[in-house]
């Protein structure tokens, strides 16, 4: 256990070590992702029974909930990376923020689109200014702002710090999104999966959902490692400003 922690610490501090281990992990992540995604799709579309109220439309949950979860999870990872970037000035932390932002924005947009597709047959409308939907839309604007800020700031060294501060300021939206269904009277349903309480979903429906969430998490790790690996190689080849950083 201690050796794993030391290895993780080493990978965080050394881009070279991170590159070596992340690239070695990519095939394993890809295989696990394909297995979990295949199971999630087959079980979600075929094996899981239809909901007694929503019918087969409930199957949208198997793509909507993982996207919504990833939209929050990626922002939390970016906030943790922002702290590391500001406090310890870690090279990798800046890269995590840069390459996570577009992925997070994509998952947030997908959560809104799939939610909207689900909302039409269930609520009778594509969109409503509900607390959960509105706070999720604000998260999409935050991601867009971060991406625009990244591309607009020419002076990279200062620009990266400004982006990290923006990420930390925007973190206030994450608990608002999570608790919006409890704080306000919303049309959106409460949390389906709970950490410290029994889930409100039947066990025959929960396993494909957990598999899809795990598959999406693996996908995020895979694409992030791939992009960071590419950038680290480009840095090494082109004597990028990041090389001068500790």
């Amino acid at each position: 256990m201690w050796s794993i922690i030391k290895l993780a610490q080493g990978c965080l501090l050394s881009p070279k070590l991170f590159f070596r281990y992340s690239q070695a992990m990519l095939p394993v992540l890809a295989v696990l992702f394909i297995i979990l995604l295949s199971y999630g799709l087959i079980a979600g579309l075929i094996l899981a029974p239809a909901d007694y109220i929503q019918g087969d439309a409930f199957r949208i949950i198997y793509v909507h909930a993982p996207c919504a979860f990833l939209s929050l999870f990626i922002y939390a990872v970016m906030a943790a990376a922002a702290i590391c970037a500001l406090v310890f000035n870690l090279t990798l932390a800046h890269l995590v923020i840069r390459h996570s932002a577009s992925l997070g924005a994509g998952f947030t947009l997908l959560a809104l689109i799939t939610g909207s597709i689900w909302g039409k047959p269930m609520w009778g409308t594509w969109w409503i200014w509900d607390a959960r939907l509105t706070s999720e839309l604000i998260l999409l604007f935050l991601y867009t702002g971060i991406i625009l800020c990244q591309s607009a700031l020419a002076q990279k060294m200062r620009g990266e710090r400004a982006v990290a501060i923006l990420v930390l300021i925007g973190f206030i939206d994450i608990p608002i999104i999570h608790y919006s269904v409890y704080w306000w009277n919303t049309l959106h349903q409460g949390a389906t999966l709970k950490l410290f309480a029994p889930s409100s979903i039947d066990s025959s429906m929960i396993y494909p959902l957990l598999a899809m969430i795990a598959a999406f998490l693996l996908y995020y790790a895979m694409v992030l490692f791939l992009r960071m690996g590419h950038e680290l190689t480009a840095i090494k080849a082109n004597h990028h400003w990041l090389e001068k950083m500790p």
């Binding site: 799709l41 579309l45 075929i46 239809a50 019918g55 087969d56 439309a57 199957r59 949208i60 793509v63 909507h64 996207c67 577009s102 992925l103 994509g106 997908l110 689109i113 799939t114 597709i117 689900w118 039409k120 047959p121 996908y219 895979m222 694409v223 791939l226 992009r227 590419h230 480009a234 080849a237």
Partner: protein, 51 residues
């Protein structure tokens, strides 16, 4: 067999909603992987030309 397939794609009348949601997600997953991979191939080609 044909009837079973039709029944599956109909999804109790929600087929259009269900499959369009799945299609959006799968297209996004493919694009997020494919676009950086293509950029990387272009970068490698540029680097090879420089050598």
């Amino acid at each position: 067999m044909k009837l079973a397939l039709l029944h599956f794609f109909a999804m109790g009348g929600y087929g259009g909603y269900v499959f369009s949601a799945y299609a959006c997600v799968l297209i996004f997953l493919l694009a997020q992987w494919f676009i950086p991979w293509r950029r990387w191939q272009q970068y490698l080609r540029r680097q090879n030309k420089l050598l």
